[in-house]
């Protein structure tokens, strides 16, 4: 065994805190280390050429690298070794950047630690074994979870590439948040005009299968071979018989708050989500239907001319297999009830921006009129408050919700257009207009008359005059004065949040979320649509606040990744799978229940004991399913389970060297 050690400077990242020359020099004394060198940039072409040259000149068969996290460049070095005819798993990486130079400030001690990390890696490489992966077939069908603009775009792109897609949406119609909006910034396109054609295209596309009113129940498997259970909730309306005439909706006696209008209007218990809904056939909301509550009523069934109403319909579980999954589950809007100073929930004329959006929408509760909810009159003086619950560590969400600056500018413009003479005041901390054409849009809003006041509002309180108006108290830092505005309507630009159940969805898909609950991408810059779970991609606001253009780009990016996977047709299996030493396995099968991938099963071996044939149970690994998490190896009582690349022998060697 001939080991070569290479210590990377990483420019000044490592060099400034670790004496790389000293580390490279000291490991030379370790047994079997025949070559050691420090290099300025190991991942660069020059650095790799150095390794390549050293392998040739010194006949190296193991390579130990002291550099950044293996997450970053392990594959780079594995490919290099493979190119030199060595097994890619003969490379060991000591992370002396993230785990050492970046987190320490004492150069001497950091150097000492770096040396120990490298020594451990050398010791581990004494016992490294060659590993290989298998090629697995990919199921060329995609699942898109969420039928908003992100999901629709992703599904359309994959479908256009010629692969089948299942699009799952929990509401009775696709369209998502974008369907709630009136106009979109910065072009003031009518939201429905650009969205509904896409919705119809998705519904009629031969490669897209729509599952509305459905939810994901269970996900198992791995990249290329996911097994998913979809629960199709009972719609109680047979799609093939219903002609969408709407008589049932008209006659239904039960009214409930309409969630699509943010509760500001009523809908029936049998309903379509909005006039342009796709599919445009009603469903019965069983939680609110009189028939399902009391067993009486049945008006819709009596009135239906085609006999499409079916009260007996059951929830259905659909099981299907997919090669890739795209999560596009969207977001919720925070209701600012806990920010008591804004009086939201205590005064009808304090509303959220989404409420205003619904009011402006022609198919909304007021058919496009903006009114004061308390009186129904048109408001003259409107105060907008930005960053309500955003950038608020204390009571809200610490991050910027990204779209509020622009949609507020949009609202002031639309108000100015539709109701000339409306005065708009916008209280803001900063105005963030990072996007193509956004600054110009903001400028237009200011030109058309929106008064931007820099400073947060401290209190909104009822004036208790005959008009039931509100007094907004703020401070304009430019003016250096307190400002009080007697307002007819107060509009709060509320914070964007992940879906309330996004944590459950993350668990279901086996992906991770950040501290705010948004799904985490594999790398914030270089892998923005991938997740740490191979074959699962992200699109839209489930990953973080985004506007529509960005959402659509990301959705297309995610679908491109899925299409790439399908075009390849094969994936390499994980080589670092678990291995059972059947000679010492006691067959207790404790490992089976802990395996999250259901890769372990029981089998029998026949052996001769004291001259007799004995049949004895042992564990067996399905290498295609195993993802190398190591749960079984950690648990195994008899030490029969080992993890390729991280065998007990290797880990013990690491400990022993210290």
């Amino acid at each position: 065994m001939r080991i070569g050690v290479f210590i990377c400077w990483c420019g000044s990242n490592i060099k400034n805190m670790v004496d790389v020359e000293k580390v490279a020099e000291e490991v030379k004394s370790m047994p079997r280390v025949v070559y050691s060198q420090d290099v300025q940039y190991l991942c660069s072409e020059v650095g790799q050429a150095d390794i390549s040259k050293a392998i040739d000149e010194h006949n190296l068969d193991r390579v130990v690298i002291g550099a950044c996290s293996p997450r970053m460049h392990e594959t780079t070095f594995q490919k290099l070794l493979e190119g030199k005819g060595l097994n890619p798993y003969y490379v060991e990486i000591a992370n002396i950047r993230e785990q050492c130079s970046w987190v320490h400030s004492d150069k001497e001690k950091a150097t000492e630690k770096a040396l120990e990390l490298v020594k451990k890696a050398v010791a581990k490489s004494y016992y490294s074994i060659p590993l290989s992966s298998d090629l697995l077939e990919v199921n060329k069908k995609a699942l898109v979870v969420g039928g908003g603009i992100a999901g629709i775009q992703a599904a359309l792109d994959i479908a256009d590439a010629g692969y089948p897609v299942d699009l799952v949406e929990r509401e009775p119609s696709i369209g998502g948040r974008m369907a709630q909006f009136d106009k979109t910034f910065p072009t003031l396109d009518c939201s429905a005009c650009i969205l509904t054609p896409k919705m119809v295209e998705a519904a009629t596309h031969e490669n897209i299968n729509l599952y509305t009113y459905s939810e994901i129940e269970d996900v198992s498997g791995y990249v290329g071979n996911f097994k998913v259970k979809i629960k199709q909730k009972a719609k109680s309306v047979k799609a093939d018989k219903c002609n969408g005439c709407g008589d049932c909706i008209e006659k239904c006696p039960k009214k409930v708050a309409n969630e699509f209008d943010e509760g500001s209007s009523k809908r029936k218990a049998i309903y379509t989500l909005f006039p342009q809904a796709v599919p445009n056939k009603p469903v019965i909301d069983r939680d609110n239907c009189i028939y399902f509550e009391k067993g009486k009523c049945g008006v819709c069934q009596k009135i239906c001319p085609t006999g499409a109403i079916d009260y007996e319909e059951q929830d259905e579980i659909i099981e299907s297999e997919y090669g890739a999954i795209i999560a596009a589950t969207g977001f919720d809007v925070k209701k600012p009830n806990d920010l008591a100073e804004y009086h939201y929930g205590n005064h009808p004329d304090v509303i959220t921006s989404l409420d205003l959006e619904r009011m402006l929408n022609a198919s909304g509760p007021t058919e496009g009129k903006v009114v004061r909810p308390s009186t129904g009159n048109t408001p003259k003086k409107i105060v907008f408050i930005q960053c309500v619950g955003s950038r608020d560590r204390n009571k809200g969400n610490p991050y910027c919700s990204k779209v509020c600056c622009l949609y507020t500018a949009k609202h002031t413009l639309l108000l100015n257009e539709k109701f000339p003479g409306t005065e708009s005041y916008v209280f803001n901390i900063d105005v963030r207009t990072a996007g193509k054409g956004y600054e110009e849009f903001y400028e237009r809003a200011r030109q058309k008359g929106a008064n931007y006041l820099r400073g947060q509002v401290s209190k909104v309180e009822p004036l208790e005059d005959e008009d039931n108006r509100l007094l907004v108290r703020g401070y304009d830092s430019s003016l250096g004065e307190q400002v009080e505005i007697e307002a007819d309507l107060v509009v709060l630009a509320t914070s964007i949040e992940p879906k309330a159940d996004s944590g459950d969805m993350a668990k279901l898909l086996g992906i991770s979320s950040n501290e705010d609950g948004f799904f985490s991408e594999a790398h914030p810059k270089l892998k923005p649509v991938e997740t740490q779970s191979q074959g699962i991609y992200l699109a839209g606001v489930c990953q973080g606040p985004k506007d529509i253009p960005e959402t659509v780009s990301q959705a297309s990016g995610a679908s491109a990744k899925a299409i790439t996977l399908f075009n390849k047709g094969q994936v390499e299996s994980v080589p670092t799978t678990a291995v059972v030493n059947k000679d010492i396995c006691s067959g207790c099968m404790q490992c089976k229940p802990v395996c999250p991938y259901e890769a372990i099963s029981q089998e029998y071996v026949v052996e001769k004991v004291a001259g007799k044939q004995v049949k004895r149970p042992v564990a067996s690994i399905n290498r295609a399913l195993c993802q190398g998490c190591g749960a079984c190896a950690g648990l195994c009582r008899s030490g029969a389970m080992d993890l390729g690349g991280f065998t007990s022998r290797q880990l013990m060697a690491e400990v022993d060297i210290l």
């Binding site: 820099r454 430019s478 003016l479 505005i485």
Partner: protein
């Protein structure tokens, strides 16, 4: 300051726009005018505040401010304004509006030799007497 408050009439706004030929709504309150003004120590409203008041139509507050008359018309603000709004010109516009309402007699120069021409013009612009 409490809104609604008296704001400039349409006539006043029109007159102001005719004089300055600038759209004060373009101002985005970067504060560059105030940061470079050599006379802020003597002003009640800083230049950016005058711009903001003008933008919101609060002309009366500007008419009553000392700032208009402290402004030396050095044009530092105008030369640096990123929106090319020329705050000095705005100030001038407000002064003109005040002066139009007053008696505009002839200018009497006491000592022609000692008065620099520039100061004379600035003084005429400001006081016209």
């Amino acid at each position: 300051m409490r809104f609604p408050t008296k704001t400039a009439s349409n006539n006043e706004r029109e007159e102001f726009n005719d004089i300055v030929q600038k759209n004060v709504k373009d101002c985005y309150q970067c504060l560059k005018c105030s940061s470079g003004c050599p006379l802020t120590a003597h002003m009640d409203y800083y230049p950016h505040q005058v711009m903001l008041l003008a933008k919101m139509g609060l002309f009366d507050q500007i008419f009553e401010s000392k700032t208009l008359w402290v402004c030396a018309s050095c044009l530092a603000c105008s030369s640096r304004c990123p929106r090319d709004l020329e705050p000095a010109k705005i100030m001038e516009g407000f002064r003109t509006m005040i002066l139009r309402d007053r008696d505009q007699g002839n200018v009497e120069i006491l000592d022609t030799r000692k008065v620099p021409r520039q100061a004379l013009i600035a003084s005429m612009r400001k006081f016209r007497r």
